[in-house]
């Protein structure tokens, strides 16, 4: 685990090698330079993952006992009170020492790295610390003395794990007396995400060797994918928000470069720019939120921020504003309503890119941020306080509107794109409903099956000679059997059919929403479950069943492409089994070293949500409902699209449906709205500014220039035409002003210069003489 910090660096190295030597040394075989680094990344992640799974995080390979640190939480209050300097004690190069090196010396500042990870806070920390010392291990609850019941539960459940992850950092820079650290925070959540990202990135690179063969800028493509993976890993591991923003923006850059990979076409350029600018618009929120957090907490360390928010050290309007602002960043990055419109356009990039960036990893960056900074979000938007909050609402709305949009797409990649938006909405909804573990679980499962589906669609497109319209497909089941079967597994997983991966995570989300008092959103989620199965059924039938309707000669893809498909099919089918309701080991993994956040009541500072441990039966009922809905969706799609039992012109005959269809086909007119706003205002505004510059400011302020006109005609460097033009355009008032000024300054540069020089020379001589 302590080598995980190498992951971003490895991929950065891969990027640099490929970009500089990809052409010359590797002779265009850039994958030789990038893939090895990804392989090492995967190995390191697997190794770390093994430690999480088998050691359960209590002891790491050095035999270092984690986390029994008695000094802690002593100065949580001091952290924020001391305007700057919260949490910035010495950097710890050595993780082992770092954990113990709680800086009493620098006290008054903070408890620092070691005090942060699980940080029971403020009140009640004494008894907790004792518990820790006794080897019981502190629980990571924030409720301190307030909800004793919850503590009891947590003791039982968490007795064997919890405590610190690994913090490795060094002093990065000091500004205004505040020190920022560059460092990583490794805990269960980070390890699981690292594994997911590196495995999928590796698969996608291997797949790309086949898919991108002979395409332009192959070297840059491979290099950028490596950089992208590095950026995501950096975000995953970052221990402070400032570093996280690095990873966040590096991904933004890579996504811009990859979407616009074929930048000869204006359309692709525009898609790339749209993606970059839309996410960047969200970043206004991300930046502002970070500034506010720094302002109120005096630190950007993620763990410290969580602690501060949970313990109530920071709070109130400022925290709420910060959380909302950060969430705007999430909306942009994770393509949530209303900033989701860039993602379908981003399909302009090569298909492996869509799989990597716009399904499996980058878009979940926003979701990950919420999961990572959960304390801040939970306290900020008051998750668990009432049946609704901003996050859950946005998530649900996104999930539903995108699912509807997926229904009317003909482009196979667009179906998946809208499906992605919808599923991201699901994850956000889960987090907003306090079902932290479910949200993270869905990130994990979704990454595998959605990457699988995207790569499958790429295989279809490749096989059909760059045809993306499903109306030109059909009957590919027999022609592309490997693609078909793996696609089917992906579809079943996404639709939430037992026992495939998506079923378990989706079920957990629905269950979480229901149990935490978000019943309405349970209904919304159930609708989405139905729609998902329906549109996936539609896409599958249109593509693989019936007769081939296109004009090409479809063929199965090469093994470099089907290999990753087969590989990804395995986790798509099976990873869900780690998170069954009766034995949720996934939850244990992601919570290793992490604050226990799933059971929201424990986490909620006010403890208003009751703990639901007795509702197992309802879990199965809910699971049954969601499964039934999914089967219904698939069945209905079979009836409609395969058996064609309904009249095809249904939408023609029923007005309401027609309206709905038009609305969907125009993507709720959101693109038109935004485009309209941008195009209405950009040109005129920019022009107005330019005009102001030329005709107002210049005229008003450039009085000296105007006065030149009368006197400067004979001078050497005088351009009559231009100045006359300006003069003509000048207002009468300006002219008068010019006359006034004229008297002060002759306006003739040479003359002025001569006088000035003579005067200063004279003055100098005079003064020297006087001296």
């Amino acid at each position: 685990m302590k080598f995980l910090f190498l992951l971003p660096l490895l991929n950065l190295a891969g990027f640099l090698l490929a970009i500089f030597f990809g052409k010359s040394v590797a002779k265009g075989k850039a994958h030789l330079l990038t893939v090895p680094f990804l392989v090492v990344s995967v190995l390191l992640s697997v190794f770390a993952f093994g430690q999480i799974v088998f050691d359960n995080g209590t002891v790491d390979d050095d035999g270092r006992t984690v986390a029994v640190c008695s000094v802690l939480a002593e100065s949580q209050d001091a952290t924020a009170a001391d305007g700057h300097g919260g949490g910035h004690e010495s950097g710890h190069e050595n993780p082992c020492e770092g954990v113990h090196a709680v800086s009493a010396a620098t006290s008054g500042v903070t408890s620092g790295t070691s005090g942060t990870t699980d940080a029971p806070a403020g009140h009640g920390s004494d008894e907790v610390s004792h518990a820790a010392a006794a080897g019981v291990v502190r629980l990571a609850s924030a409720d301190g003395g307030e909800t004793d019941v919850a503590q009891g539960v947590a003791h039982e459940e968490l007795g064997k794990r919890s405590s610190h992850g690994i913090d490795q950092s060094f002093e990065w820079f000091t500004i205004g007396g505040t020190t920022f650290h560059m460092g990583v925070h490794v805990d269960g959540l980070a390890v699981v995400l690292c594994l997911m990202v590196s495995v999928i990135a590796l698969m996608i690179q291997i797949y790309s060797i086949g898919y991108m063969k002979g395409e332009v800028r192959y070297v840059q493509f491979m290099a950028t994918i490596s950089l992208f993976a590095g950026g995501m890993l950096l975000l995953v591991l970052a221990s402070n928000l400032f570093l996280a923003i690095f990873g966040w923006e590096i991904m933004g850059l890579c996504s811009y470069l990859l979407i616009g990979h074929y930048w000869e076409e204006r359309e692709n350029q525009n898609a790339a720019i749209k993606a970059f600018l839309t996410t960047r618009t969200g970043d206004i929120g991300l930046l502002s939120g970070s500034f506010i957090l720094f302002g109120i907490a005096g630190t950007l360390n993620i763990q410290e921020l969580n602690d501060a928010a949970v313990t109530g050290t920071i709070g109130g309007v400022a925290l709420t504003t910060a959380a909302i602002a950060l969430f705007i960043g999430v909306i942009g990055k994770s393509a949530q309503f209303p900033l989701h419109t860039w993602l379908p356009d981003a399909m302009a990039g090569p298909t492996p890119v869509s799989a990597l960036i716009h399904a499996a990893t980058m878009v979940v960056a926003g979701v990950y941020l919420v999961a990572r900074l959960y304390g801040v979000f939970a306290a900020g938007v008051e998750i668990g306080e009432s049946g609704v909050n901003l996050i859950v609402a946005i998530g649900c709305v996104t999930a539903i509107i995108a699912a509807f949009l997926a229904l009317v797409q003909w482009d196979i990649k667009k179906v998946l794109a809208y499906s992605t938006i919808s599923q991201l909405g699901y994850m956000v909804m889960a987090l907003g409903a306090g079902a932290w573990g479910a949200g993270v679980f869905h990130v994990f499962t979704h990454a595998f099956f959605k990457a699988l589906l995207f790569l499958g669609s790429g295989s279809v497109i490749h096989g059909c000679h760059h045809e993306q319209d499903m109306r030109q497909m059909g009957g590919l089941r027999k022609l592309m059997p490997k693609t078909f079967w793996t696609w089917t597994i992906g579809t079943l997983a996404l639709s939430g059919i037992i026992p495939f991966a998506g079923f378990w995570s989706k079920d957990e989300i629905l269950g979480g929403a229901y149990q935490n008092g978000y019943e309405i959103f349970f209904v919304g989620g159930a609708i989405v479950a139905f729609l998902t199965a329906f549109y996936m059924g539609r896409a599958t039938i249109l593509t693989f069943f019936g007769d081939y309707r296109g004009h090409a000669h479809p063929h199965e893809s090469p093994s470099l492409m089907t290999g990753p498909l087969l590989f990804l099919a395995v986790p798509s089918a099976l990873v869900g089994l780690f998170g069954t309701p009766w034995n949720n080991v996934f939850l244990e993994w992601v919570q290793t070293f992490t604050v226990k956040m799933t059971d929201f009541a424990l986490f909620n500072p006010l403890g208003k949500v009751a703990v639901h441990h007795e509702v197992e039966t309802i879990t199965y009922v809910l699971a049954g409902v969601s499964l039934a809905l999914a089967l219904l969706g698939l069945g209905l799609s079979w009836v409609v699209f395969q058996m064609k039992k309904t009249p095809g012109d249904l939408t023609e005959r029923i007005a309401a449906l027609r309206v709905g269809r038009t609305l969907l086909e125009n993507k709720y007119y959101l693109d038109d709205l935004y485009g309209g706003i941008v195009y209405t205002f950009r040109e005129p505004l920019a022009k107005a500014v330019n005009w102001t510059n030329k005709h107002v400011i210049d005229v008003v302020l450039d009085l000296t220039g105007k006065s030149m006109i009368e006197f400067g005609k004979g001078t050497y460097f005088f351009d009559q035409d231009l100045l006359d033009k300006v003069y003509d355009g000048s207002a009468v008032g300006a002219d008068r002003g010019g006359n006034v000024l004229k008297r002060m300054q002759t306006g003739q540069v040479q003359q002025y210069l001569a006088v000035f020089l003579a005067a200063s020379a004279g003055l100098g001589i005079l003064l020297l003489a006087a001296n």
Binding site: G176, L253, W263, I273, I284, R682, N693, G764, A770
Partner: protein
């Protein structure tokens, strides 16, 4: 090494002048000798600069200035030849040395019409003395002299070697700056006459004037302080340039030869912001507090306004010039917060803008050199016709739009960060509004940069250039650009290198003043 400590700054500052004098004595035709002399002078300067870096005590234990020298100059008015460096001026001093060297290297085979390397290099060396002098002066009159010295060479550079509208642009540049300088000088004189040293008498000494404990300006009334501040503000703000006195900048930049644009953007603009940090704020903290919200307002207007104006540009250089208005807005916003973080951010922003925008102007110049046009509508497909130049343009544009891990980001980030919590006595709500507006500005910045890239770097090669073969980046271009590229990455990834230098001085000067 005592000797070095006493003389290093003076040597570095006046060596270019010696070089310039030698150039004057050389016959015009011996171009290679002329180039060698100029290059030699600037290399020698840079070597001294490296020596200074080695001898400079970065530990922060040394209070005040290093390499200090203080000799009587004109006793009648009590002005001294007082020079010195601290963490605030050192980076700018090195930046000026370095950029001049790179500009001279670039000039080797890039002399603009009407050629005449002798006079061109003469002016650059003269300019170097002025720039370096401004950053080491610790006396108001000395500062003023150097500040004005800079004006002439730049004026002639634009007026003689500039583009079509060079006459208009150069005069505009000259008059604007001169106009501001007049007010600045009046303010300096007022400060002098209103100061009282404990030993009696008046002073121009910046160190004495800014020492609040010394009470040199204790007799100064609030209103008088404000007027003096306003006078200096005008002089410095024009140099920065702040909205709405920025209109000389796009013209000057567009018309100036490449070398002139680079020096202007990289160093000259910084003299204005530097003067705020060195002179205005420490000497007149109370007036600064009164003015801060207005400075902040003008700064954020500049950010938005500059970015919007960029979107309307059809000329590559003009676009980059307007982007400077925006970037300097971030710098001024940092200064306006009056906090150590903000001022550090501003200093960082100055250096990073110098490096990144300097590089952008180099690139624009080289594009113009090859295409003989700067019209965005006539360009396109740079990545195809000259992949290296195009790639570098993409890189630099992203640095300029503030991508993390490149130099533009840390300055902008911390500048906005500081606006959340401005110094005591400033209205938080106002500055927080500025913060959000500035954040909006980052999106606009990305917008126009991508717009420029889309039209210049991407796409197909326009028919006009279809048959042409272009030379990609040449040797001298590499030599002058690679250091800037490296610095862009290094400062982006390790901002601490620069911040550790500035932070100590900033803390020691400002933490006491603004609480």
């Amino acid at each position: 090494m005592e000797w070095f400590d006493d003389w290093a700054l003076s040597l570095a500052t006046f060596l270019p002048l010696v070089g310039a004098a030698i150039l004057l004595a050389l016959p015009k035709e011996r171009e290679n000798v002329i180039k060698t002399v100029a290059l030699g002078a600037s290399i020698l300067c840079a070597v001294i600069g490296i020596g200074i870096l080695f001898r400079f005590d970065f530990s922060g234990d040394v209070a005040g200035y290093q390499f200090e020298a203080n000799r009587k100059w004109i006793s009648a008015i009590g002005t001294n030849y007082h020079i010195g460096l601290d963490g605030i001026s050192l980076p700018l001093f090195i930046l000026a040395l370095g950029i001049t060297l790179l500009v001279i290297i670039y000039s080797w085979d890039h002399f603009p019409e009407p050629h005449n390397p002798k006079m061109f290099l003469f002016l650059i060396l003269l300019l170097e003395t002025g720039m370096l002098g401004s950053f080491i002066s610790l006396d108001l009159i000395l500062f003023f002299v150097f500040f004005e010295i800079v004006l002439l060479p730049m004026y002639f550079m634009i007026a003689v070697w500039g583009g079509e509208n060079r006459a208009y642009a150069s005069i505009k540049f000259f008059l604007f700056t001169m106009f501001g300088s007049a007010f600045m000088l009046v303010s300096f004189l007022a400060l002098y006459f209103m100061s009282t040293l404990p030993s009696g008498g008046h002073t121009f000494d910046i160190v004495h004037l800014s020492d609040q404990d010394l009470g040199v300006l204790s007799d100064l009334g609030t209103t008088a302080g404000r007027w003096i501040f306003a006078g200096m503000f005008l002089g410095f703000a024009i140099k920065v340039p702040m909205w709405p006195v920025h209109t000389w900048l796009p013209d000057a930049h567009t018309e100036a030869p490449t070398q002139g644009s680079v020096l202007l953007a990289a160093v000259l603009l910084k003299m204005g912001t530097y003067a705020f940090v060195r002179i205005s704020l420490p000497i007149l903290p109370d007036a600064a507090r009164d003015f801060a919200p207005y400075i902040g307002l003008l700064a954020v207007i500049g950010i938005i306004y500059g970015s919007l104006a960029c979107l309307a540009q059809t000329d590559v250089k003009r676009l980059i010039a307007f982007s400077s208005v925006g970037h300097m807005g971030f710098v001024m916003l940092g200064i306006a917060t009056l906090t150590p973080i903000g001022i550090n951010a501003a200093l960082f922003g100055m250096i990073s803008h110098g490096i990144v925008t300097g590089l952008l102007f180099f690139l624009a110049g080289s594009m113009q050199h090859r295409y003989h046009t700067r019209e965005i509508s006539r360009l396109g497909g740079l990545l195809i016709s000259m992949p290296r130049l195009g790639g570098l343009l993409v890189f630099t544009s992203f640095a300029s739009l503030g991508l993390p891990a490149l130099a533009g980001f840390p300055g902008e980030f911390s500048s906005m960060l500081s606006a959340y919590q401005p110094a005591e006595g400033l209205n938080e709500a106002v500055f927080r509004t500025f913060m959000v507006i500035a954040a909006v500005g980052t999106v606009l910045t990305a917008g126009y940069m991508l717009y420029m890239l889309q039209r210049v770097a991407q796409g197909k090669v326009p028919d006009e250039w279809a048959g042409h073969t272009f030379h990609d980046i040449g040797t001298f271009e590499y030599m002058s650009w690679v250091p800037l590229v490296l610095m862009t990455v290094v400062l982006g990834v390790f901002p601490g290198i620069l911040m550790s230098v500035t932070d100590k001085s900033v803390m020691s000067i400002f933490s006491g003043i603004f609480g």
